[in-house]
């Protein structure tokens, strides 16, 4: 499906993209990764620069392979991370991602996770924080092929809007052709809890600090258990400080 033609917004996977910005980096090279049977790997994608970023990862997990991917997308005027994953028998894929944007920035993560073998497990946790006129999108498709019984696929998607002018798009999608499948997914877009904020402020935290503390906890869910959890949290926090 390698195409050199610049997509348009009529293309579902690019419906919320900043196409003008994308044109500047098009075509996007596919970054292919194969995790050999029985082995495991990790990858941190940290994009905190201001320049446009578009990446497309294609990850193949052979039988009983494990892969842990963490993504921090915080800074680019347009940032897009697309990840296609194919899981073989008993493979395990985890993705924890945080997107933070403000101003007129557009950030998006697009995943397509395909279970091809028996008893594979996958989980995606995506946390998005948006201020100003920013747009943040997560398109997450899970496909379970015929015969991929015993699949356990989870998706937890939450976005926090700090201003009413920001936009969050979330589209979880399930396509299941096997019988014995567990697929739990939750998706929510909201604002910071006003009661919690008042509680923290009543103890002496200035409003920006109270918000930072609550958002830090919100984002932490994406990086929990990562090998480089501290580094990822620290970088996310630095960006959060700039946004608030």
């Amino acid at each position: 499906m390698t195409t050199l033609t610049l997509p348009t917004r009529r293309d579902e996977a690019y419906r919320y993209s900043d196409i003008d910005a994308l044109a500047g980096v098009w075509p996007v090279a596919r970054e292919e990764l194969v995790v050999a049977a029985g082995t495991s790997g990790t990858l941190d994608i940290v994009e905190t620069g201001a320049a446009t970023v578009a990446r497309h990862l294609v990850i193949t997990l052979e039988a009983a392979a494990r892969f842990d991917l963490r993504v921090l997308l915080a800074g680019p005027s347009f940032g897009r991370i697309a990840v296609d994953v194919r899981l073989g028998e008993k493979a395990d894929f985890t993705m924890g991602a945080a997107q933070l944007a403000t101003g007129h920035e557009t950030v998006e993560i697009v995943t397509e996770v395909t279970h091809t073998g028996l008893d594979a497990t996958s989980a995606q946790i995506v946390r998005t924080v948006l201020a100003g006129h920013a747009t943040g999108t997560y398109l997450g498709r899970i496909a379970v092929e015929r015969g991929a019984d015993g699949t356990d696929a989870g998706q937890s998607v939450r976005a926090m809007l700090l201003d009413r002018t920001a936009t969050a798009n979330a589209r979880p999608e399930l396509e299941i052709y096997a019988d014995d499948v567990k697929a739990a997914h939750g998706c929510a877009v909201g604002e910071l809890d006003a009661q919690g904020l008042f509680y923290l402020m009543s103890r002496g935290l200035p409003p920006a600090e109270a918000k930072r503390l609550m958002l830090q906890a919100f984002i932490a869910e994406a990086f929990a258990g990562a090998a480089n959890e501290d580094m990822l949290s620290e970088k996310a926090l630095a960006r959060l400080g700039a946004i608030l």
């Binding site: 809890d193 919690g196 509680y199 009543s202 002496g204 503390l213 609550m214 906890a217």
Partner: protein, 247 residues
Amino acid sequence: MLQIDNLQATVADKPILKGLSLTINAGEIHAIMGPNGAGKSTLGYTLGGRPGYEVTGGSVSFDGQDLLELEPHERAAAGLFLGFQYPVEIPGVSFVQFLREAANAQRKGRGEEPLSGGAFLKLAREQAGLLRMDMDMLKRPVNVGFSGGEKKRAEMVQMGILDPKLAILDETDSGLDIDALRICGEGINAIMRKPDKAVLLITHYQRLLDYVKPDFVHVLAGGRIVRSGGPELALQLEDEGYEAVVA
């Protein structure tokens, strides 16, 4: 220390406080009692500066400052502590981290040096011990999974750590079993019964006042204080009910 003069406040445009006046001096413990819907919690939230509680008249002076001009965090730094009737759960934020940041934000507001990590933990351990709370509980997310009694004890631990001049405690006794009530009562005495501090207890019942003896008892009804007296007034209320005493 606190002078409330003819305070009027609305919640969602509905008048709740209708000309409440009260003076609290350093070294005093006051109790406000009253029937449901009298405006007790509204008084606490209004003094704490909760958004949505709008002051429409009157004045509140705290240590010579206009309290109503201050943001909630500035009120805390000025020495006001609000104990919540329903402490809020904040997933993912640990008590220790939050309280250290809160304590240091207050100190910064007062132009004091921040507490080091070690000094803070020592203080937290002391105060947790006072309320017989396991220090490990303070490493957990704020109030998450705490029982009603644990939440109230955690409020008192926070009060001990933040060391306010004036504590407004909104139904600290609700949801407590007998032992927890005694522990909280003793905690309030240990932390706040000092010549330079004061307490405003908001409560429905006499039982907390068995442990924390008030100097003054006020009856709040219909958004204003309708009667004031000494500790005997609380006993009279317990015997005769609000209706008889307020009438």
